[in-house]
């Protein structure tokens, strides 16, 4: 499943979105805006905008993970809009009969989200 949302990602509902009828392992990774984004000055906010084709790009990532690893389900959620420190940027989740596959897929999913071509990211530093 793939979601692009302009409302805050609510971690209380995410587990229920991943199917796990056969899976023994469910791995979730939340990326969160942190104060020190690595650019020297503290982060005030980050704005994410998605272009046309973003859902297709997310679908293609889901398909890539399903092809490469033994998974029951994959969930990709991305937040659009202006995010502040502590806000959830994205969620990558995978369910699998093996924790190894769930972890590997989840890590690869994060790497793929970072390389998306249909997202525009603008960081504002605190003064």
């Amino acid at each position: 499943m793939v979601v692009i949302t302009d409302t805050p990602i609510d971690p209380s509902t995410t587990y229920g979105l991943i199917s796990n009828k056969t899976a023994g392992s469910v791995v979730l990774h939340y990326a969160v805006v942190k104060k020190d984004g690595g650019s020297g000055a503290p982060t005030d906010s980050i704005e994410y905008r998605f272009e046309e084709g973003a859902e297709e790009e997310l679908d293609a990532i889901v398909a890539e993970l399903l092809l490469k690893w033994k998974l029951e389900d994959v969930l990709l959620v991305r937040r659009e809009g202006c995010l502040h420190v502590g806000d959830i940027i994205s969620l990558v989740a995978a369910s699998s009969p093996n924790s190894e596959d769930a972890f590997a897929a989840c890590r690869h999913g994060i790497a793929r989200l970072k390389k998306m071509t249909t997202v525009c990211k603008r960081e504002r530093l605190a003064e």
């Binding site: 297709e56 679908d59 293609a60 889901v62 092809l67």
Partner: protein
């Protein structure tokens, strides 16, 4: 019923990227790949509304079907 079909990677060659079309109630991804002359063994991943599905999945009105080839899924 109306189904949006999205093709990815080499499946687009000579076909289309996305199209919305009427299908008979109860149509499955297998029916649609067959109509599109896509051999089942070339189908890598089937997503229905971005969720993992099988070729015999019963599609519903308004569904989006995405088809990815075995190689070069992106």
């Amino acid at each position: 019923m109306e189904i949006t079909v999205k093709l990815f990677a080499m499946f687009r060659v000579g076909r289309f990227a996305a199209v919305t079309k009427r299908y008979e109630p109860g149509a499955t991804p297998a029916n649609i790949t067959s109509e599109l002359n896509i051999p089942e063994k070339e189908v890598g991943i089937v997503l229905v509304n971005s969720r993992h599905a099988k070729l015999d999945h019963r599609l519903l009105d308004g569904d989006t079907l995405s088809l990815f080839p075995l190689v070069g899924g992106g």
